[in-house]
Structure formats: structure tokens, C-alpha cells
């Protein structure tokens, strides 16, 4: 290769051609490593809301298509002042907490068992695969018969809906735990329980937590679904009522509450990740 380039250029103007050919090495690195950019998310939100506000004020967007954001805000304020917000939020949060806690706890347990025992894996992986794609809402009538029309069926729906994604995320995470570390634990004579508690569980924690993000988002979706099918109070009931009256301001107020709930849950998980996964740096 080098010989041909030398031969191409006549000896006497080699220096000159080297001069004219000199150019910096083009940069090809960088990217593929997202950095935290503070405030960008907020700017996107604000810009979209400002656009909607401007559109509805100028009449560019009709009142039938989209409520005016400031009106939604006013509705939210009224909701707060009348004390109705807490009346709707409190049962919703209880349902979310109880249902998700049940589903996640059982899901992590089953996921770990699937990850560790061949028979459990052989027996349950196909079952989980069969349960995963079932729209859990479709089973609500069944849950009502099994667990009663009251809170029981709502807890069960949310628990069941968070269970499957948690199981899948957990056993995948357990599969990814460094086997070398497990061998190390065995070579020091650690008990089975110690290996699970001190090696498998912390090693699987990153995967379990990212599964939790998905599970909890699903939990919020199912919460609303459950409440739409029969609840006096709850965000879902509130949205359903507003929808049936075509009261867009109240409908959107409910949607805003749900979005905020999602953002808060996600922020809480980020907090937990920061704490539990500090070792990853």
C-alpha cells in the first residue's frame, strides 16, 4: 500500500503535495451515550401546553377538539378546593399500592424461583408466556366473581397485571447474574439462602428495577380500567363520568392527574435505582 502512494507522486513535488493534502483526521467518535440534560423535558411540556393554549385562544383549535389548558388548570384548582381531589385520589392510590405491591412481590419471588430451579422454569415459563398477552381487563368480570365487586377484584386485577411483567423481568435478570460470582459464593461454603440474598438478588436488582418501571405503568393503566367498571370514587371513575358528559376540562384534569402519577412513580423508581445501584457508578 505504502509503496504505491510513494510511486504515484513524483519525488520532486512530494513535499508540496503532502502540504496540500494535509487535513485534520475527521472526528467519528462521540454519541451513543445520552447525558442528563436538565430542564429539556420541562421545555417540551411547556412548549406543547403553550401551543395548545395559543391555539385554543386564537380559535385555531376549536373547543371541541381540545380544552384550553388554563381551563383545565382552573378545573384542577376547583377539584382541589372542593376536597374532591383527595376523595378520588385516596382510593386510587390505595388500590395502586396494594395491587402493585402484591403483584410485584409475588412476581419477584416467582421470577427468582424460575431463575433458580429447572423444574419451576420448565413448568412456569410457558404458563407465564400464556398469561402475559391476555388483556387483563378482559378478565375483570371473572375477577368480580372470584374476588367480589368491591376492592378485592380491583386489587386482583392490578396485582395480576403487574405480576407477569415482573416475573419476566426478574427471571431474565436472574439469568444474567454472573455465574462466576455464584461459584465464588459456593466455593466459600455460603448457604443457599445467603447466595440468593447476597449474590443473586443484588445482581438481579438492575433488571428487576427496570422491569418495575414497566409493571407500575401497567398498574396505573389497569387502575383506571378497574375503576371505570365500577367505583364511586377514584380517578378512573372521575374520568369516566367526565367522558360520558363530554366535559373535556374535567376529562383532561383527570388525565393530567394520571400523567403526574406516572411521572411521580417514575421519579421514585429513579430515586430507588440511584440508592440501590450506587455501586454501578
Amino acid at each position: 500500500m505504502r509503496e504505491t502512494t510513494v510511486n504515484d507522486a513524483p519525488p520532486h513535488d512530494q513535499a508540496a503535495s503532502a502540504g496540500s493534502n494535509a487535513r485534520p483526521v475527521p472526528f467519528r467518535g462521540g454519541g451513543f451515550a445520552p447525558q442528563p440534560r436538565k430542564g429539556v423535558g420541562l421545555v417540551v411540556f411547556v412548549a406543547l401546553i403553550a401551543l395548545a393554549e395559543w391555539g385554543t385562544r386564537t380559535g385555531f383549535i376549536t373547543n371541541l377538539t381540545l380544552p384550553r389548558p388554563s381551563d383545565v388548570l382552573i378545573t384542577l384548582g376547583e377539584l382541589w378546593d372542593s376536597g374532591l381531589l383527595m376523595k378520588h385520589l385516596q382510593p386510587s392510590l390505595t388500590r395502586l399500592a396494594v395491587g402493585a405491591a402484591l403483584g410485584v412481590a409475588v412476581g419477584i419471588w416467582v421470577g427468582i424461583l424460575i431463575g433458580l430451579f429447572s423444574y419451576v422454569r420448565a413448568g412456569l415459563v410457558p404458563l407465564v408466556a400464556a398469561l402475559f398477552p391476555i388483556p387483563k381487563i378482559a378478565l375483570l368480570p371473572l375477577f368480580v366473581i372470584w374476588f367480589g365487586i368491591d376492592e378485592g377484584s380491583k386489587y386482583a386485577l392490578i396485582a395480576f397485571g403487574t405480576f407477569t411483567p415482573t416475573v419476566v423481568a426478574t427471571y431474565g435478570a436472574v439469568d444474567n447474574v454472573d455465574r462466576g460470582l455464584i461459584r465464588m459464593g459456593q466455593s466459600f461454603g455460603l448457604s443457599w439462602a445467603s447466595i440468593v440474598r447476597k449474590i443473586v438478588l443484588p445482581g438481579a436488582m438492575p433488571g428487576i428495577l427496570s422491569g418495575l418501571r414497566v409493571s407500575l405503568a401497567i398498574a396505573i393503566i389497569l387502575l383506571v380500567a378497574a375503576e371505570m367498571l365500577g367505583a364511586e370514587y377514584g380517578i378512573g371513575a372521575y374520568i369516566l363520568e367526565a367522558g360520558s358528559l363530554y366535559d373535556l376540562e374535567r376529562l383532561f384534569a383527570g388525565v393530567v392527574i394520571l400523567s403526574l402519577l406516572g411521572v411521580i412513580v417514575s421519579a421514585v423508581i429513579t430515586r430507588i435505582e440511584k440508592r440501590l445501584l450506587r455501586w454501578r457508578g
Binding site: M184, S187, F188, K198, L277, R280
Partner: protein, 255 residues
């Protein structure tokens, strides 16, 4: 405590990996195992520590482990095998937590092994904050903490750069001269083998069988750079290994 292997053979699904290994690991000595890549050194070591069962043959412990020994057969792994979520002292503590020790006793052991491996200043550091050489010193400290009867080291220095390797080798020598321990030391590196081994076992290419056993009587502490006798042994080992590696290459070409 001694370790004795009697006619150990093993195959992984049709592929014979080890053939009729008979070997004694005497108390207070370091036995080095060298051999071409893939000849079954790691497999043999896993069997010695009870992490794997041989198809044929027996592995026996002779005599009692020393007083206060918590884990008679203790490994030091090539990739360190430290828990990334535990600090240096937490990693050492892991090996002690399943034993019935008082808190004070545990803390004393950790302090002692950290001092012996000059890691006292890094007790609270996380593995990712440590260099490779320091990580391996943590793993050695963890192994020392359980006061093993036999240490099983699988290429403990292979993941390290040449300078760190020399330093750690010196550390191992001084640890041994201060308190002689029994060890099986698997390595690719013949310089390590002649520096640390009282007995060097050369395995043939796969299926690994004992090709030759070389004894070196000189004191570990007295072995230094440019020792003519050691150089001679190393050259001899190198010839053996080269022949095996060549033959293994030729086999691959035929296949």
C-alpha cells in the same frame, strides 16, 4: 492438610479433558500446574475444590485443616469474583458472615487480612474504584480471611499487567514466607511457575495427562532475578510446553 488426586479422568460430553491424573499436594507447599490452553487445568482445579465431580478417580483430603480454618479449600479466581455492590471490607466479610463469629472477631479478621495485603486504606472503597492488582489483592485477602488449608489459584495474575504481576508475585512470596500455606497455582506463565512453585506439574495437551513433574527445592524467598538454576528449569518447561502447543496446533490442522 494434604490433597491427593488418584486416577482422575473427566470428559465433557464425549470430549476427554483429563486423563488419569495422580498427584499429591503436600502441606505447606505450592504446586504449580502449567499446560497448554484448554488442557483442563481449570477443570482440574474446580474438582480439587469440590465445584465439579470427576467422572473417574478420587480426590481426598488427608489430615485435619488447621485450627480456626473456616473454609478448607478456598479459591482465588482469575477474574477476581468480587461483588461489585460491596465494599472491600464487605467482600471479605461475605466469606465470614455464614460462620458463627462475633462481630468483634469478624472485624478483627478483616482488619488483619487488609493489613497483610496492604489494603487497610481502601476498606470502604468499591471494587470499581480499584485497579486490577488491588482487586486481586482483595480477593487474596478474602481467601486469607477464612484461613484456608489449601488455596486454589486459577491464573490469579493473568488479568494484570506485567508490572503489577511482578509486584503481586512478590506479595504472594512474602505472604508465604511469613506463614507458609498450601496452594495449587494454575498458570500459563512459566516465570510465575518457577518463582512460586515447589513442585511444577506439566500437563500435556487435551486430554490433559501429567507430562512431567519438576521439583524445585530452593527457598521461595531466596529465588530472585537471574537465578541460573531457575532459568534452566524455565527453559526446560518452555521446551515441553512448546512441543505440546505445536502438537495441538498440528492436530487442529489435521482435523
Amino acid at each position: 492438610m494434604e490433597l491427593r488426586l488418584d486416577g482422575v479422568s473427566h470428559a465433557y460430553g464425549g470430549t476427554q479433558v483429563l486423563r488419569d491424573i495422580t498427584l499429591t499436594v503436600p502441606e505447606g507447599k505450592i504446586v504449580c500446574i502449567v499446560g497448554p490452553s484448554g488442557c483442563g487445568k481449570s477443570t482440574l482445579l474446580r474438582m480439587m475444590g469440590g465445584l465439579e465431580r470427576p467422572d473417574e478417580g478420587t480426590i481426598t483430603q488427608l489430615g485435619e485443616p488447621p485450627e480456626g480454618c473456616l473454609n478448607p479449600l478456598t479459591y482465588v479466581f482469575q477474574d477476581f469474583a468480587l461483588l461489585p455492590w460491596r465494599s472491600v471490607e464487605g467482600n471479605i466479610s461475605l466469606a465470614l458472615e455464614d460462620h458463627d463469629l462475633s462481630k468483634a472477631r469478624r472485624a478483627a479478621i478483616i482488619e488483619d487480612v487488609l493489613a497483610r495485603t496492604s489494603l487497610s486504606d481502601f476498606a470502604r472503597a468499591l471494587p470499581r474504584q480499584l485497579s486490577g492488582g488491588m482487586k486481586q489483592r482483595v480477593a487474596i485477602a478474602r481467601a486469607l480471611a477464612v484461613n484456608p488449608a489449601v488455596m486454589l489459584l486459577d491464573e490469579p495474575l493473568s488479568a494484570l499487567d506485567a508490572q503489577t504481576r511482578v509486584l503481586l508475585m512478590d506479595d504472594l512470596v512474602s505472604l508465604w514466607t511469613r506463614a507458609p500455606f498450601t496452594a495449587v497455582y494454575v498458570t500459563h506463565n512459566l516465570a510465575e511457575a518457577v518463582r512460586l512453585g515447589h513442585r511444577i506439574v506439566v500437563l500435556s495437551r487435551r486430554p490433559g495427562a501429567i507430562r512431567e513433574v519438576v521439583e524445585i527445592d530452593s527457598d521461595l524467598g531466596a529465588r530472585g532475578e537471574g537465578d541460573a538454576k531457575l532459568e534452566q528449569v524455565q527453559t526446560h518447561l518452555w521446551h515441553l510446553m512448546r512441543d505440546e502447543a505445536r502438537a495441538a496446533d498440528a492436530e487442529l490442522a489435521d482435523a
